[in-house]
């Protein structure tokens, strides 16, 4: 049976300023905020119970803004989507500032102005 992962709360935002990512103008973002803060349990395929981070949507937006002007090579392609994985230094003061996180994001060519943040987790985990 195909098991679909419940990513928890998903937030849609309009970025406070547009960014250029892979030479594409991005205006909006979709953030899996619960997936970011709780992470997934590999065994149960559900969100973990204990929080690993305490990022707000605004904090995640700060990470997204760091991508401005960058170009990353896609790690895989799923239909019209490209999935990207990168290491990114935390820009949020007071919350792991300058520590490196792993970011998994995807971009759908059918929705060019939107970026989808799948997860963001500490690289030292």
């Amino acid at each position: 049976m195909v098991k679909i992962i419940d990513p928890g709360r998903i937030e849609r935002i309009v970025l406070s300023r547009p960014i250029t990512f892979n030479e594409i103008l991005i205006l909006k973002a979709v953030i899996e905020i619960d997936h970011i803060n709780f992470g997934l349990d590999e065994r149960t395929r559900k969100l973990k119970r204990r929080k690993r981070t305490n990022f707000s949507v605004k904090d995640v937006e700060a990470f997204i803004l760091e991508l401005d002007g960058d170009a990353i090579v896609a790690s895989r392609y799923v239909g019209s989507q490209s999935v990207f994985t990168a290491r990114i230094d935390c820009p949020v003061k007071g919350k792991f500032f300058t520590r490196t996180f792993m970011m998994i994001l995807r971009h759908d060519h059918c929705i060019p102005d939107e970026i989808y943040i799948v997860t963001l987790y500490p690289s030292w985990e």
Binding site: V2, L67, V73, S82, A86, R87, I88, M102
Partner: protein, 131 residues
């Protein structure tokens, strides 16, 4: 995203952690580093535009996958500007866009010394055109 896809991506990302692109504060980069990153970006665009894997790209470039991975993930300490230019020349054989970019680069480098005002004017018009 469904099923094991997310776990697969996370597992792969953790395995290749050190090789992945590292996004840092760009303001701290030196001029040489910025030049290198700009050159690497052309390889990334080519890969993304054609939606190919790094392995496929390495085959097209006739280079080892590890070397190509270093370029597309901006491991700039492993490359000099002239080495990157050599690879970019090879890429220009595959990509008309890169070829045109190299022509622009050549033309820019061949610009004779001008007055500060004229140089600034040219720089400004180039940035305006790009914007």
């Amino acid at each position: 995203m469904i099923n094991d896809e997310i776990f697969e991506i996370i597992k792969k990302a953790n395995k290749e952690k050190k090789h992945l692109t590292h996004i840092t504060n760009k303001q701290e980069l030196s001029f040489e580093e910025r030049v290198k990153i700009s050159l690497c970006r052309h390889f990334v665009h080519y890969v993304n535009e054609r939606r190919i894997t790094v392995t496929e790209f390495a085959k097209e470039m006739n280079l080892p996958k590890s070397r190509v991975s270093e370029i597309v993930n901006y491991k700039i300490t492993k490359y000099t500007v002239d080495k990157l230019l050599t690879h970019l020349t090879r890429l220009a054989e595959l990509s008309p866009k890169t070829k045109a970019y190299l022509d622009l680069l050549r033309a820019t480098l061949e610009v004779p010394p001008m007055t500060v005002t004229n140089t600034k004017k040219l720089t400004r018009s180039m940035s305006q055109f790009y914007a």
